[in-house]
Symmetry: C2
Subunit: 392 residues, 2 copies
Amino acid sequence: MSGYHFLFVPGPSNVPAAVQQAIHCPMEDHRNPTIPDLIMPINEDLKKILLTKTGRVVFFPSSGTGCWEAALQSTLNMGDKVLGASFGQFSMLWLDMCKRLGFEPITMEEEWGTGANPENYHKHLSADKNHEIKAVLVCQNETATGVRSDVKAIRKVLDDLNHPALLMVDGVSSVASYEFKMEEWGVDCVVSGSQKGFMLPAGLGILGVSQKAIEKMKESTYPTCYFDVVDMMAKLDGGYLPYTPPVNLLRGFRVAIDLILKEGIENIWKRHHRLAEGTRQAITNGWGLNLCAKEEKWYSDTVSAIVVPDGADAVPVISTAFHKYNLALGAGLAKVAGKVFRIGHLGDLNECMLFGAISGAEMAMIDNGIKVEPGSGAAAASKYWTENPGDK
Amino acid sequence: MSGYHFLFVPGPSNVPAAVQQAIHCPMEDHRNPTIPDLIMPINEDLKKILLTKTGRVVFFPSSGTGCWEAALQSTLNMGDKVLGASFGQFSMLWLDMCKRLGFEPITMEEEWGTGANPENYHKHLSADKNHEIKAVLVCQNETATGVRSDVKAIRKVLDDLNHPALLMVDGVSSVASYEFKMEEWGVDCVVSGSQKGFMLPAGLGILGVSQKAIEKMKESTYPTCYFDVVDMMAKLDGGYLPYTPPVNLLRGFRVAIDLILKEGIENIWKRHHRLAEGTRQAITNGWGLNLCAKEEKWYSDTVSAIVVPDGADAVPVISTAFHKYNLALGAGLAKVAGKVFRIGHLGDLNECMLFGAISGAEMAMIDNGIKVEPGSGAAAASKYWTENPGDK
């Protein structure tokens, strides 16, 4: 197919040219003496992105899913109770992993299109007088429904109850894109992945751990090897990994981190918000369609799930976009399959790219008989972006 | 700046990923024994793109401008008269080159926004009873004004008068993009460059020559060396160049030619026409602005020059697009500086890319106080593309 591939799934996100060029490097021995010069500054710089001073950040050759596992295995013991809300494919899968690994998840089902409900966390934690719940899981950004949860509010529940459980956050599709403050919010474990806000190909899981989490690791008897965080911290301190890392990806990681630090994490949050809001204007004011996220407080700045009108099917819209317009949109998963399509708006992104995604999705809807006014998406986004130039 | 750079000047055009990857190859000795396996099929395949069976196609490490020079030097003699129409920066420059090189150009000035006028060619050629005019120059696509000229009509003038002058065509920004038929149209020399329809970085000039042109080379006493077409043909026949070629660019050339032959030259013309027409709909029906090209018969399928309203200045529009929206638009040149901006729509291109260019240019106009309706460009383009799906 001619022209750029328009990649608008909510991750992998688009990789900047400078990062692609850095990854495209000669292969090298992962034990060569220059490796610590690469690794050790990354160890420090990641703290500036996750916003922790006292915590640690490690990374694994894995997807974000691997770091879900690393966080659980390294800090908990077999049979420990964990509490979490399920309101989409990914918040559900993390709790499912807890079960598969031998923990005892307490799952709070929330309506898809909403997020973590602090009141329900409060109910369970206040009833847990013996502190049998060892970890509280929150998915900050539910990629399946385009929902943001309020991590600070869950921290407040724990604080109000003086509950000692670890606070674990899935920040795979929020970290380095919209507001996340590990230290200030008292997050003990936060999981991310290279292929979202970090603007890399998939291949690196990123895990932030607090000193409290590190203390808990000493008490853990859970059998770990690949995802042993204690091992990983010790090896990274020496400038290497315990096993073969993808060094070319780490060369790209270096450049991606430089780009993030140069733009500034708060500027990145602002850019994502402005681009997300323009996209939402296209969806709601332009097309007159609904977001899957039920209320404004749930709106995600990295992905919008768009509900197609009653009787319409999102599947052929996605297929038309891909095959006719070289545009990859995100599919609806599980409960919302066929009911929504998703536009990812995270990572290395600008207005012109989003115009392609918005107007391309619009043509794919029109081609499939969904009544939206041609140009209405671009009109609403354009109006928002010209009236709200941000720091530009 | 974040996100893709939207490159919408009328060349260099966007380079497909497969071509970029091919260019990004290890350096190699340009005299190594595998080079003829690269060069000799290119010699043959270029004929399929320029549509000549009896002619030859050569290429130089140069820009298209270099092949303007090669065509003139190799076939003419010092002091020879050449006839050409000037109606924009590039048609003007080719005639200027004729003067600088010691030929005697007869320049027919045409209004910018129109193209080569067959009646004026007829006037001069019919008066040239002694056949002192040795070459007739036509710029098929005037990139400065977005104007296409009718090469067939000029051929007909020569045929009707039985005039023996060589027909030379500047096809830099038309060949491999819209209709050009070297053999059928009786073109003796056609000049192109790698950075337009051929979807490569700049660096290769491409020159097609007819058997009649090759015969004329025998009579030429013009001093040539670098741009000696006879030398180049002989060396290319052996699978090498007379001097150092950029072999990495030739590796990319191979892949670009493969992409062109796979899509099919007539399909490429159709795709360019459909994308160009959507862009024109955005400009005229959407924005209510005028093209620099005065009439439909002059419309170029590779570049549109858009006239900003009276009193407005195109320069800050182009600057805003570049600095605020990461979008490179073409500037107005010479006579139309400040009066027009240009959108190139050639090469490796699709609808979503053009939506970025159209809506980005629209925002840049709005930012500079030019009254266009937000979204009106995308609306008109979208309507055209969904109602005219082509072969999709």
